[in-house]
């Protein structure tokens, strides 16, 4: 296990390096001189040169990268072009709403998705299976932002049960997490159905039935537990999808989270903030995938030894 974990950990380092270079290059890839972009349209030449020197944009690229990484490792992400505030402060106040939203969405999606998947597999090719499959494929096809707007129209505008946006109370999180979780729920339902069907063809399931175990013991203790490993892995990998989806959902429900910050920063061309957010999302995603890989190794000895 130690060797497998070490291999995985070492594999992540070059990936993080390349991602950091890409994100660093981001500001140089935008057409036009970054100093001019930061200074604004009416800036004088001196002002532009001042910014160039202040940000070290006149240094060779590799030196700029080293400075950038040095700042990054000491926790300095630069200042927002738009407001002049340190980017780290801006991110700090935005983390919690996004985290809450992500975990609530994942929570209900996992429970309901598994339930639909298991029921579909047990009643394969009967009406509960068709209903479950149709629910799953509909959830995959529904545009998240539209679902959010429809929920707002019905439950906030018409019925007045929930607030239309913001994060004032726990009630504010209900509609957004339904919206964000719908896609994941569908994916997990489809995945757990096929995983359950596969597990139920295994010999030990037949053995269980042959020795007279009750059906719910066979399903619950043997089939479900074994396919759970794979389903949880897939769920972990879907966190990236949630990060992307949070951009949409936070925009629809006016939630002051990281996704909303990204959209605002792009609309206002606040490149330092965009850079920091892209780096953060990518790092988070890579680390989650790493954790999922390691967990998978812990749960499944086959993976551990074959590597």
């Amino acid at each position: 296990m130690g060797r497998y974990a070490l291999q995985r950990l070492l594999g992540v380092i070059p990936l993080l390096f390349v991602v950091s270079v890409l994100v660093f290059m981001f500001i140089h890839l935008i057409p036009g001189d970054p100093a001019r972009l930061i200074a604004g349209k009416d800036a004088t030449l001196e002002e532009i040169q001042g910014i160039q020197e202040q940000l070290g944009l006149n240094l060779p690229l590799w030196k700029q990268y080293i400075n950038y990484m040095g700042d990054l490792l000491s926790g300095n992400l630069g200042n927002s072009i738009r407001s002049g505030m340190p980017v780290t402060d801006m991110l700090e106040s935005r983390v919690m709403p996004t985290l809450w939203l992500t975990f609530l969405s994942m929570g209900w999606a996992l429970v309901i998705g598994l339930l639909i998947g298991v029921i579909s597999a047990v009643y394969r090719n009967k009406w509960p299976d068709y209903a479950g499959t149709l629910t799953a494929i509909s959830g995959m096809s529904i545009p998240g932002f539209w679902l959010g707007l429809v929920l707002i129209q019905i439950f906030s505008v018409e019925l007045g049960w929930f607030p239309t946006g913001g994060v004032d109370s726990w009630k504010s999180y209900i509609l957004p997490s339904i919206t964000l979780g719908a896609g994941i729920m569908s994916m997990l339902a489809r995945y757990s159905r096929s995983s359950m069907l596969e597990t139920m063809r295994e010999d030990y399931i037949r053995t269980g039935r042959a020795k007279g175990l009750r059906e719910y013991v066979v399903i619950g203790r043997h089939a479900l537990r074994n396919s759970l490993i794979q389903v949880v892995t897939v769920a972990g990998l879907q966190f990236g999808f949630l990060l992307g989806g949070s951009v949409m959902v936070e925009t629809v429900f006016s939630i002051p989270g990281l996704g909303r910050l990204l959209v605002d920063s792009i609309l206002f061309r606040d490149y330092t903030v965009i850079q920091a957010l892209l780096l953060m999302f990518a790092t988070q995603f890579i680390l989650i995938n790493l954790i999922v890989d390691l967990l998978y190794g812990v749960l499944n000895p086959k993976i551990r030894y074959s590597s």
Partner: protein, 303 residues
């Protein structure tokens, strides 16, 4: 003896044809039979054909001029005259939806096709040649995979600027690595088959082996993956338009229409409902067809 000599004629097209796996009408017929058994996929196919017809002949079919404002009928709900109601300028929503069909299909199809072409080339090269080329391509796709789909697209649009053509590029970029991985794995197994070995032993060049022998083996995977990806591409493009990074608000793009209607949600929800239903049904149809094709073409997922 004459038969023998033709097989020995190294590299001649005929001899390779003899050794290549038989692709008869039987295989295609079996596919059609299997696909037609799935009623949902069949219904969805009909719906998609209808969409294409609307996309092609849309301008001749719309009941009203999609761009013409009518200030006597601002934001009216669905009625006999306007089946899907009118928007904030009094334009007929059904006409705008029909007009926008072409835009939706063009954007999503071109993005997925670009991704398929590049992904297939990368996958074939990576799987066939292996070595440093394989490592380079696969590490490259790892890097792209380390950004969540929609965020990668948003990042690309932030660099290139808003607009539908940039949306196509962004959606194509995040679609490419998954094609590359799938085609690579098919290539790896096709490389080990006897007919490839036979072709090689007869002195066929690498390029010829890749295109004449391995590429045909990947076609069914490509078709399945294209059909599975179109729905996602439509959703991604609509999302970008909704965020104001895609279509201009003057264009009859479904995502942009939704985004405009958002401001009138409490007084005229139908402006939001209908474009959303159009997106939903279209994506659903493509996903159902994708599932149907996968079940009919991929023997591994028969259940």
């Amino acid at each position: 003896m004459s038969n023998n000599s033709s097989v020995m004629g190294a590299g001649s097209p005929l001899s390779e044809e003899v050794l290549a796996p038989a692709k008869t009408k039987g295989r295609f017929g079996a596919f059609i039979r299997k696909f037609c058994k799935q009623r949902m996929a069949l219904v969805a196919t009909c719906f998609i054909i209808l969409l294409f017809l609307v996309g092609i002949f849309g301008p001749f079919l719309t009941p009203y001029n999609p761009d013409e404002p009518n200030y006597d009928a601002l934001m009216t709900g669905p009625s006999a005259a306007h089946w899907a109601g009118t928007d904030e300028y009094g334009r007929d929503i059904l006409s705008r939806l029909m007009d926008g069909t072409r835009l939706t299909l063009a954007v999503s199809l071109s993005a997925v096709m670009i991704a398929a072409v590049f992904g297939t080339i990368f996958g074939l090269l990576s799987g066939y040649y292996g070595g440093w080329l394989d490592r380079l391509i696969m590490r490259g796709s790892d890097v792209l995979f380390s950004f969540p789909d929609l965020l990668l697209a948003i990042g690309i649009v932030a660099i290139l600027g808003p607009g539908l053509s940039n949306v196509v590029i962004a959606v194509a970029v995040f679609g490419t690595p998954s094609f590359a991985r799938i085609i690579r794995s098919v290539t790896l197994s096709a490389k080990e088959t006897l007919f490839v070995e036979a072709a090689r032993s007869m002195g066929a060049k690498n390029r010829r082996i890749i295109w004449r022998h391995i590429f045909p083996e990947t076609i069914s995977s490509i078709i399945v993956n294209v059909s599975m990806k179109i729905g996602g591409a439509i959703l991604a493009a609509a999302s970008l338009s909704f965020l104001g990074m895609g279509a201009k608000t003057t264009e009859p793009d479904w995502g942009a229409m939704l985004s405009m209607g958002r401001d009138y949600l409490s007084i005229a929800p139908h402006i939001v409902y209908f474009p959303g239903i159009a997106i939903f049904l279209t994506v659903l149809a493509f996903n159902l067809v994708g599932d149907g094709l996968r079940d009919a073409l991929d023997p591994k997922t028969k259940n």
